[in-house]
């Protein structure tokens, strides 16, 4: 099998008893932007470290740029892989200034310029002379990002590069960065815990669980057609209504919906996202608002409908008071069902 | 360094350079060695060190040794090197300048100067007449805790070897044990003993006679004097510092010239009479420093010094047994 930029094939890595990565498989095309999502401890960092060459796989094969870099009989050391990586814990060189850190991987003649560009990209021009311990957490993280990009690698692995940066700066940085990377046709693998970020940036989102890549798909597909119930919950809050499949449709307490994918007849759980449930103030309504959480641009409601508790998320323009009686109106064409 | 390659063959040509390993202290031989260079134009490179260590070095170096001449503190070291065939046979001419008693039976080294074993004592706490005339006397309780000696020192060990040759192993052991019972104090070397006497840490000590003169040189006021043991007493012993030519030397002629020079008048005088030095001259009819008993009076063991070295291991064994060196 062959695929563009990264090809991880049946790779496993265990630490002592812990199977950090377990028979994982993933292919990334040249120039593609892939986001890696998964619960803490599922093996994301380890996977990146395997690709970058900081860990040797116990089993399986890894290819980068069509070249086998790790296999039972082959090994290419990190420095020969030309992979830029941002470590989850930055790993800035404490004895080097910010500029020296960023310039570390750059050939001398290009250095000055590359450092300048990289620093301004992460909004730290003028910090070049500082030492890492003189920076805030977020600033350190940005330096780490700059350092990994300065040498213009073809492939960059970003392990939560923005976890400590405020959303505003993050937004701008992220967009600039994405632009630059796409322009330079750089392949990116991004570990993030921010779903919105993953969804808005990535061409594809790879979902990891217990060391395996369980689903890799474009954002909307992943959100609408998660392959498992776990995936459905992980990529976003959801209501799971009991329902029974009959023909191509499924009947629930909130009505009958078409199935987005054929399902065998019988009892199923139907996924309805909170934003798909509109709440209409209605004294005759069968549901009551029992929880209300303000989230800025929208509000998160918990409603008691019969014995089920439903969650609904609506723009903060449609306000409903706590304790109000409401009727719940689903906005759905088709739903996906899980046995 | 690297004196080992070039060899000027037999002739002691003007401008030759000899490499000397000297177990004797720089201050003791340098002036005379310089004189030699002036006279003969033969330059000398001297490695100073501890006799035993240098002897061991010569043995380890084997035939690749850069050394031409070995000057040693005591017969033991010379004997050891000779015993490994690392010293060349000296010309009869040279050997004959020294009494047979002070040269190697195997003709491979000659004594250059002699030292007598003495009992040094603190002149403030003792008068000469109070001192026993024989070493046997020091086992008397009167000397309990007042005696010092250097059990690990080559000269002392030679002295014990000599004693064993004369009075036998058992009596020597008894004597050593008696001293131990008498709470004898141990010191690392002769000077240590003298210092201790000067400090009255002990009152008497068994040492070589000439250390006193160095002590006086540095601290004239030191209240220490030598008491010579004469006659047949086993305490009486003349040990020698000597020299030999390294067998792998490429400059034997020049080397022999050096040794002859050391046996010459000037050298002998220098060793025996120059300030701070009082060794016994062994050649060229130079007379010992005034105040020293004549060599003939200290005929001591008449033991063969070359043979002493051979007994050293067994002597060490004995010293270990009686707990002097452990």
């Amino acid at each position: 099998m062959s695929c563009g930029m990264i090809c991880v094939h049946g790779v496993s890595k265990a630490f002592g008893g812990v199977r950090a990565v377990d028979d994982a498989a993933l292919c990334v095309e040249r120039g593609e932007f892939v986001a890696l999502l998964g619960p803490s401890g599922c093996g994301k960092t380890t996977l990146l470290r395997l690709i970058a060459g900081f860990e040797r796989p116990d089993r399986g094969e890894i290819r980068v740029c069509e070249r086998t870099v790790a296999a039972p009989d082959a090994w290419v050391p990190p420095e020969a892989r030309w992979v830029g990586m941002v470590f989850q814990d930055y790993a800035l060189f404490p004895h080097l200034s910010v500029a020296e850190n960023v310039g570390f991987g750059v050939a001398r003649k290009r250095r000055a310029q590359a450092v300048g560009e990289a620093l301004s990209l992460v909004g730290l021009d003028g910090y070049g002379a500082r030492y890492p311990h003189e920076l805030s957490g977020g600033q350190q993280q940005r330096v780490a990002l700059a350092r990994s990009l300065a040498p213009r690698p073809e492939l960059v692995l970003l392990d939560e590069p923005w976890s400590n940066i405020d959303p505003l700066l993050r937004g701008t940085m992220r967009d600039e960065l994405a632009e630059i990377l796409r322009a330079a046709d750089v392949t990116v693998m991004l570990v993030t815990h921010d779903r919105e970020e993953a969804f808005s940036l990535a061409d594809r989102v790879a979902l990891m669980l217990d060391g395996r890549v369980v689903q890799a798909a474009p954002p909307e597909e992943l959100y609408r057609l998660p392959s498992t119930r776990w995936a459905a919950e992980f990529v976003g809050a959801g209501n799971f209504l009991r329902g029974r499949v009959a023909g191509g449709a499924v009947e629930t307490t909130l009505g009958t919906f078409a199935l987005s994918a054929p399902a065998s007849a019988g009892e199923v759980d139907v996924l309805i996202r909170p934003e798909q449930l509109q709440l209409l103030p209605d004294d005759g309504g069968r549901a009551t608002v029992i929880g209300r959480e303000f989230r800025g641009h929208d509000v998160f409601y918990r409603v008691q409908a019969g014995d089920a508790v439903l969650v609904s998320q609506r723009p903060s323009t449609e306000q409903v008071a706590l304790g109000a009686r409401v009727s719940v109106r689903p906005h759905v064409e088709s739903v996906c069902a899980f046995a | 360094q690297a004196a080992s390659q070039v060899g000027t063959g037999g002739v002691a040509a003007h401008g030759t350079t000899l490499t000397v390993y000297s177990g004797r202290d720089e201050r003791f031989v340098k002036p005379i060695l310089d004189q030699f260079t002036q006279r003969t134009g033969i330059r000398l490179q001297v490695r100073y060190g501890d006799s035993a260590a240098l002897a061991a070095t010569l043995i380890e170096e084997g035939s690749r040794s850069p050394a031409d001449v070995f000057i040693a503190q005591d017969a033991g070291a010379l004997g050891a090197v000779a015993g490994r065939g690392r010293l060349a046979v000296l010309p009869q001419r040279t050997l004959q300048r020294v009494a047979p008693r002070f040269r190697a039976p195997g003709k491979r080294w000659v004594g250059v100067s002699g030292r007598a074993r003495v009992v040094a004592y603190n002149t403030e706490s003792l008068r000469a007449v109070e001192l026993p005339s024989s070493i046997w006397g020091y086992t008397h309780p009167r000397w309990k805790g007042k005696i010092g000696l250097p059990p690990t020192n080559a000269s002392f060990q030679a002295f014990v070897s000599a004693m064993r040759m004369r009075v036998g192993n058992d009596r020597t052991r008894d004597w050593l044990l008696a001293l131990k019972a008498n709470d004898v104090k141990f010191f690392p070397n002769n000077s240590g003993v003298l210092q201790a006497i000067a400090r009255r840490e002990v009152e008497v000590g068994f040492v070589n006679h000439y250390y006193l003169y160095q002590l006086k040189e540095s601290t004239p006021s030191a209240p220490v004097a030598n008491h010579f043991l004469t006659g047949p007493d086993p305490g009486a012993l003349i040990n020698v510092a000597g020299a030999g030519v390294v067998s792998s030397s490429k400059r034997k002629a020049a080397s022999v010239r050096l040794i002859d020079f050391l046996l010459g008048k000037d050298a002998q005088r220098f060793f025996s009479r120059s300030p701070g030095r009082a060794e016994y001259p062994l050649a060229a009819g130079v007379r010992p420093r005034t105040g020293l008993p004549a060599l003939s009076r200290i005929e001591g063991a008449r033991v063969n010094l070359g043979a002493l070295g051979v007994r050293l291991p067994s002597t060490l064994q004995l010293l270990n047994e009686v707990g002097y060196t452990r």
Partner: protein, 532 residues
């Protein structure tokens, strides 16, 4: 989060020098083996009950001195690096200095001062008619003298570690309501384990190999026996056998060290880069601390020095010129500096492999480099004579060989120092460098070495100071006429002419002081990346 760096095949560029180094350091051992092979079987007769007792006595001495040295060195290191002790910098240097006093000089000085009829006794005698002081010969004197000349090993290494320690940990501990002492015990001390172990190791090895003190203080140690049978020129085989016994003991000490160092990981697990540790304010302990420091310094430095000064001054009335051996001083400094540089350079690959390419053979390599260290100088010297004369060619008895000898003798000090430091380095840094396209060697030079800077400097300091006072190898291997301060002192003391020995000894201390300052005292901001 830190895990071992990728266990890539250790690059040849690292392995080759490491193997070379190990080979060199093991020469003395090889020599012993060669010799023991030719040794008569009765040579093994020395392995009798008496030797057994000797071994026990030796171990006892080692144990006590190591304990005392640690007890002295660790608190001192902490005081000068982490507190607001007045005059820290001065103390920092002063406490390292006793290292340069050759142990036999130290012993002589101590005897002169505390021995029967020493100064102290004279003074007390005049004042209170004290006739005898407690016995100094034997164990007490040996422990005192050896502690004096070895505690700096612990002190220097621990100080270095303290400088590199991540303050975030101590902060976290205090944030959890733990007071200074508890924090020190439960957070700082464990982090110091590697350096304490390393220091203790060096102390132990030194005690095993020392001859000067035990002979002067008349303590029945193994080395003494070895020297004696070395002087028994006709049959040195027993010495060889005893040498092997010593090596065995060394192995013992090495095991003890690894046990103590435990397997736990010490390198920072956090992302935090070096921040400067906040100084502990001694408050009302300030002056007591100063008092304690002064007292220790009085015994460890002032006492020997003043004895030396006294001896020097004795010479004056004799109108003898106090000739200052400038030439020798220069030679000493030159040779020692070279040795320090080479030793550290040679040590780095070895420790690097051992700690960052963990594998049975890399660890073995590192351990092996210590085994020969406990051998008395004379054995090392003769082994190098043996090999030098045979295979040294023109290099034999040149400065090059002398430096080589120093490296062979003192490499373990560089090893221990840099090793202790290296363990605290987060491998993540090296990975980052590799990821940025730098090979192992470049990484070692640009990232690892600077990170363990204070460890390396400490190592350099140790080697330098030890080389300054090295005697047996110097005597046999120096270029002819290449006098050093150590040889000058030896010459003088050989004839108990202390008034002549003293100036050189003082000069020795004087010469090394600035270097020590350069190496350990200069950290204006103790800790922090741009330290010094």
């Amino acid at each position: 989060m830190s895990r071992p760096a990728a266990r890539g095949r250790a690059s040849l560029l690292l392995t080759a020098p490491a193997l070379l180094t190990a080979g060199a350091v093991l020469l003395p051992l090889a020599y012993l083996v060669v010799r023991s092979a030719t040794a008569g079987r009765d040579a093994w007769g020395v392995l009798d009950a008496a030797t057994g007792r000797l071994v026990l006595d030796t171990l006892l001495l080692v144990a006590i001195v190591v304990a005392v040295a640690a007890a002295v060195g660790v608190p001192l290191a902490w005081l000068v690096t982490r507190t607001d002790l007045p005059g820290r910098r001065v103390w920092a240097v002063a406490f390292a200095l006793p290292l340069v006093i050759p142990s036999y000089v130290a012993a002589l000085a101590l005897l002169g001062a505390l021995g029967p009829r020493g100064f102290l006794q004279e003074i007390l005698g005049r004042a209170f008619g004290v006739e005898r002081l407690p016995e100094i010969y034997g164990l007490p004197g040996s422990v005192l003298a050896l502690t004096l000349s070895t505690y700096p090993y612990v002190y220097l290494l621990v100080a270095a570690a303290l400088r590199d320690l991540d303050p975030a940990l101590e902060e976290a501990a205090r944030g959890l309501g733990r007071g200074g002492w508890h924090v020190f015990r439960s957070v700082t001390l464990p982090a110091l384990r590697p350096s304490i172990a390393a220091g203790g190791l060096l102390v132990g090895l030194y005690v095993l190999s020392d001859f000067g003190v035990v002979s002067l203080m008349q303590y029945p140690a193994l080395t003494r026996a070895i020297y004696l049978s070395y002087n028994a020129l006709f049959d040195r085989d027993p010495a060889v056998v005893l040498g092997l016994v010593l090596v065995a003991l060394t192995a013992l000490v090495l095991v003890a060290e690894s046990r103590f160092r435990r397997s736990a990981r010490y390198h920072r697990t956090t992302a935090s880069s070096a921040r400067r540790a906040a100084r502990v304010e001694l408050g009302r302990w300030r002056w007591p601390a100063v008092g304690a420091c002064s007292a220790l310094l009085a015994v460890f430095l002032l006492l020997p020095v003043s004895v030396l000064v006294y001896w020097t001054w004795q010479a004056v009335p004799l109108g003898r010129p106090i000739d200052v051996a400038w030439r020798a001083a220069f030679n000493s400094a030159l040779a020692a500096a070279l040795a320090a540089a080479v030793a550290v350079a040679a040590a780095l690959p070895v420790v690097y492999l051992a700690h960052h390419r963990p594998a049975w053979w890399t660890r073995l390599l590192e351990r092996a480099c210590f085994t020969a260290n406990a051998l008395p100088g004379i054995v090392v010297a003769l082994s190098l004579v043996f090999f030098g004369a045979r295979y040294g060619g023109v290099a034999y008895q040149t400065l090059a060989l002398l430096v080589f000898a120093y490296v062979v003798r003192f490499l373990p000090q560089a090893l221990a120092a840099s090793g202790a430091a290296l363990q605290t380095v987060n491998p993540r840094y090296e990975e980052a460098a590799r990821g940025l396209g730098r090979g192992p060697l470049t990484t070692l030079a640009l990232v690892t070495a600077p990170l363990v800077r204070s460890g390396l400097l400490a190592g350099a300091a140790l080697v330098f100071l030890s080389a300054l006072k090295e005697l047996p190898a110097t005597l046999l291997l120096r270029p002819i006429g290449f006098d050093t301060l150590a040889t000058e002192i030896w010459q003088a003391t050989a004839f108990a002419d202390f008034s002549a020995a003293a100036p050189s000894a003082l000069l020795l201390i004087a010469v090394s002081a600035p270097y020590v300052y350069l190496l350990v005292g200069r950290h204006g901001r103790l800790g922090g990346p741009s330290a010094g």
